[in-house]
């Protein structure tokens, strides 16, 4: 009874491979060609003179002026949807139990608090607030659904032994899946400064006693 045949396993593996292949083909966005390594050799150039006007036909590139604000490390975006999905996987069973026993409110606590707590731990307080509001609405929907399921079954009144409230179940699924999807795809992202930037040297130009520019390098270790 419980033993699966080898052909069934092979069929499952084939279906999974086909699904992956279809998903791979569906990704049509391409990346631009990779950037080359850093250039180290530059042609010799005459020293720039502010008094001499540019020659005819010469392209003059205007550089943006430096602002007083200190330069910032580049932001790097990261996702942490694995944590929110794991939290939802943990909290889904107590949530379903709570739907059957609404008086045991502590069963609803993981579904309400775990994902917002993960956002807050990643420093995303706005995402935590949005997640908390979505999950409050989700619990309200589950609470209502627990009553409408009873009504749906009683209204059928056929005396059937098993009643499956299809409408309520669909509503429940939508109400539970939506916050999980929004949490994992939209909200579960954070940006943090690239730490290796702070190890780069800081080039600067200083004027010598004769007015010539000296090139200096400083670094923080």
């Amino acid at each position: 009874m419980g033993v699966r045949s080898g052909s069934a396993d092979r069929r499952c593996a084939g279906v999974a491979a086909a699904c992956l292949a279809i998903a791979g083909v569906a990704c049509t966005a391409t990346s631009p060609p990779p950037l080359p390594p850093r250039r180290v050799a530059f042609p010799e150039q005459a020293p720039a003179s502010s008094s001499s006007p540019p020659a005819a036909g010469e392209t003059v590139v205007t550089w943006p002026r430096d602002l007083p604000a200190a330069a910032e490390a580049p932001s790097r975006d990261e996702r942490y949807f694995g944590w929110t999905l794991a939290a939802d996987a943990v909290s889904i069973v107590p949530l379903i139990v709570w739907a059957g026993h609404p008086e045991k409110f502590y069963y609803a606590a993981p579904a309400l608090l775990l994902s917002p707590a993960i956002h807050a731990l990643h420093g995303e307080n706005r995402s935590a607030a949005i997640s908390f509001m979505m999950r409050t609405a989700m619990l309200g929907l589950v609470y209502l659904a627990s009553f409408t399921a009873d009504q749906e079954c009683h209204s059928q009144g056929s005396g059937d032994y098993i009643c499956i409230p299809i409408g309520t179940l669909l509503l429940l699924e939508l109400g539970i899946v939506m916050p999980i999807v929004i949490d994992s795809t939209w909200l579960a992202r954070t940006s943090r400064p690239a730490s290796e930037w702070y190890r780069l040297p800081l080039p600067g130009a200083t004027a010598g006693t004769n007015g010539a520019h000296l090139f200096t390098l400083t670094a923080r270790f």
Partner: protein, 121 residues
């Protein structure tokens, strides 16, 4: 009423495309002390002969949010490159290139672009 306002806020937030930043500092050899005006940072598709220091290789991915969100455009990628380059203190972004717009795991429409933020010596 409050729920309606929240729904409107979520719907409006869903219109603007998502901008994903992934800078790469593998080839960087310096960092600037001060920011520059991002709007004035020049974007060029080729390398330049003027001596420069590499501050970072900037990669930007713009994704359409949902079905009805704004589609990603090269202008959005360029604006994101300029803004990030300005924060780094770059004078220009060279070797700017774009990929082909298409679908991905995360969005119906996605556009990737990158460039090298440099500061002239």
């Amino acid at each position: 009423m409050r729920a309606l306002a929240l729904l409107l806020a979520v719907a409006c937030a869903g219109c603007a495309p998502e901008i994903w930043l992934a800078p790469d500092l593998r080839y960087a050899n310096a960092r600037a002390a001060h920011q520059t005006t991002g709007a004035q940072v020049a974007l060029v598709t080729t390398d330049v002969d003027q001596a420069y220091d590499v501050l970072a290789d900037l990669e930007v991915i713009v994704r359409q949010r949902g079905t009805f969100g704004d589609k990603p455009t090269q202008a959005i990628v360029e604006a994101a490159l300029r803004e990030q380059a300005g924060r780094l203190g770059a004078h220009a972004v060279i070797l700017v290139a774009f990929g082909q717009m298409g679908s991905s795991w995360w969005s119906y429409n996605e556009l990737r672009g990158h460039g090298r933020a440099v500061r002239f010596r």
